[in-house]
């Protein structure tokens, strides 16, 4: 019917179609955009609103009076100690992951796709295994009556069992095991993308293997490495399970402090403030990395 009226008005068929197509286009865009609504709504209700609420809570004390005490409290020695310890653990774990993970990613990237694919199982199987299961395995290996201590005392190499777990050492070992795949996988992907011709060219120009690696390969692998480092460091900052089980209460971590504030003290204001700062630090690190290295820090993550 509209068509008849429009034609009488003398509009050319082309403009008529244009208007109809535009309207159709708009309606289609709206309909397609709405497809994201159910998921986005769920994320809003279960994730964004609660965190907003926590943010709001962090500015009130237990009696409901507005206060900044929850943030001021973070300057107390016990909290400062937790922050330092968290950054220390995260730094140690990240450094260990780089030292252990870079050579693995490098060698795998130099092998044929087939061989690398087979060796990759060693990296991906832990990735698919529950963190809880792996943490339990480390406990079995490292504890006083665990494998290492039983073997070493049995062989007469040590008299007393060594304290390998329920301390910083055990926590770092367990965390490195969990984090290593997060470093190796994005790093491997970025190293695969480096054109091998460049290395041959460097050799042709007279570079020794070490020089070619240092001056050509290493700089080209840095963005992938930065993505891996950022991911591992950020995951370490908020890590709960492994430090809680392998730290034996001797390694104070940020996430555990948050959990304790709620489970032990029921102090929502303090827990919220800690959570807000953790989120801010996490976001800051990711944004800075993205700016500097132009990398999508979480693009390659599982």
């Amino acid at each position: 019917m509209t068509m008849a009226i429009d034609l009488k008005g003398g509009a050319a068929p082309a403009t008529l179609n244009e208007r109809l197509l535009k309207r159709h286009d708009r309606r289609e865009r709206t309909a397609l955009s709405l497809l994201t609504a159910p998921g986005a709504l769920l994320i809003l209700v279960v994730l964004i609103l609660p965190i907003g609420w926590l943010f709001w809570l962090s500015f009130f004390d237990a009696s409901g009076e507005p206060t900044l005490a929850n943030y001021a409290r973070m300057l107390r020695p016990v909290y400062v100690k937790t922050f330092i310890s968290t950054f220390q653990v995260a730094g140690l774990v990240t450094a260990a992951c780089v030292l252990l993970g870079y050579p693995v990613a490098y060698l795998l990237s130099q092998l044929s796709e087939r061989t690398a694919g087979i060796l990759m199982i060693f990296v991906i199987l832990p990735f698919w295994t529950s963190v809880l299961v792996r943490t339990y395995a480390w406990l079995v290996i490292l504890q006083r009556t665990g494998l290492i201590n039983t073997w070493l005392t049995g062989a007469g190499i040590i008299e007393e069992p060594m304290p390998l777990v329920h301390n910083l050492l055990g926590t770092v070992i367990g965390m490195v095991h969990v984090m290593l795949p997060f470093l190796i996988l994005p790093l491997y992907a970025s190293m695969r993308a480096i054109d091998p011709v460049l290395m041959r060219a460097a050799a042709n120009c007279g570079a020794t293997p070490a020089q070619a690696f240092r001056q050509v390969f290493l700089p080209l692998s840095l963005p992938g490495l930065a993505a891996g480092i950022g991911l591992v460091f950020v995951l370490c900052l908020g890590f709960f399970v492994t430090p809680a089980l392998l730290g034996g209460g001797r390694v104070a971590m940020w996430a555990m402090q948050i959990a304790d504030n709620i489970a032990v003290y029921g102090n929502w204001g303090a827990a919220s403030a800690l959570g807000v700062v953790l989120l801010a630090v996490t976001a800051l690190i990711l944004v800075v990395l993205r700016r500097i290295f132009k990398v999508d820090t979480f693009g390659g993550a599982r």
């Binding site: 209700v45 079995v140 494998l147 948050i258 959570g275």
Partner: protein, 271 residues
Amino acid sequence: MLGRPATTTQITHLQRLWLYVLVGLVLAFLIIPCLIVIPMSFSGSQYLEFPPRSWSLQWYQAYLGSPEWRAATFVSFRVALLTTLLATVLGTIAAYGIARVRGLLPAAARGVFMLPMLVPLILVAIGCFFVYARLGLNGTILGLVLAHTVLALPFVVIAVSSGLASYDMNQERVAQSLGASRPWAFLTVTLPQIKLSVMSGALFAFVTSFDEVVVALFISSGENATLTRLMFANIRDQIDPTVAAISSLLIGLSVLLLVGSQLLRRGGERR
């Protein structure tokens, strides 16, 4: 053999023998903890040992004979399957919407869907705990499924988006021009061609839910406690060899899922 050049920069295998040894050690470090629990779980004595001096199935019997462990296993499977269903459906249609529309809005939507992966889990856990306390959702299956669905959505969206990136949307337009409605065109033309990506997203969703510990620690309890919650408490408070049996079963499950994901990937590459 060892003196032969290993790369185009003419370094020999012998010269980088140290690299092979180091990588071998790191790979061993990665794989041993995943496998060592399995033989130990068949230990016949009262505590775990490696290698076991005698063999038995006692810890598996202890696991299957305990109503508590059985109930928790059932809860975990139920939550994981429901999460897989919900996250796969919501994530797939969202990824489709994001892929079809150009402009700022879908970019923003994509950002929202990546959020659950970026926010530290402990914060998700206490946020849920706090809000669920007001909604009466703590300790319920529904509460767990909703929280786990949010955690799983990024993985589904990433997997399906990568499938859609190599899919030619014009095929769907052809179907529509031949008279198919949009939903019908999606179901019969698009979905069959991205099904491997959807399935790998579903696999990620299942693992995300089934292995999730921190959120479950806070919001699951009583008869709706998950397997991971029970295991966490058990590992923290006592070292019960029953956990070794459960761990071995979970490792078996991981291997199955890993093989499944690799098959999906290989299928995707062949196409």
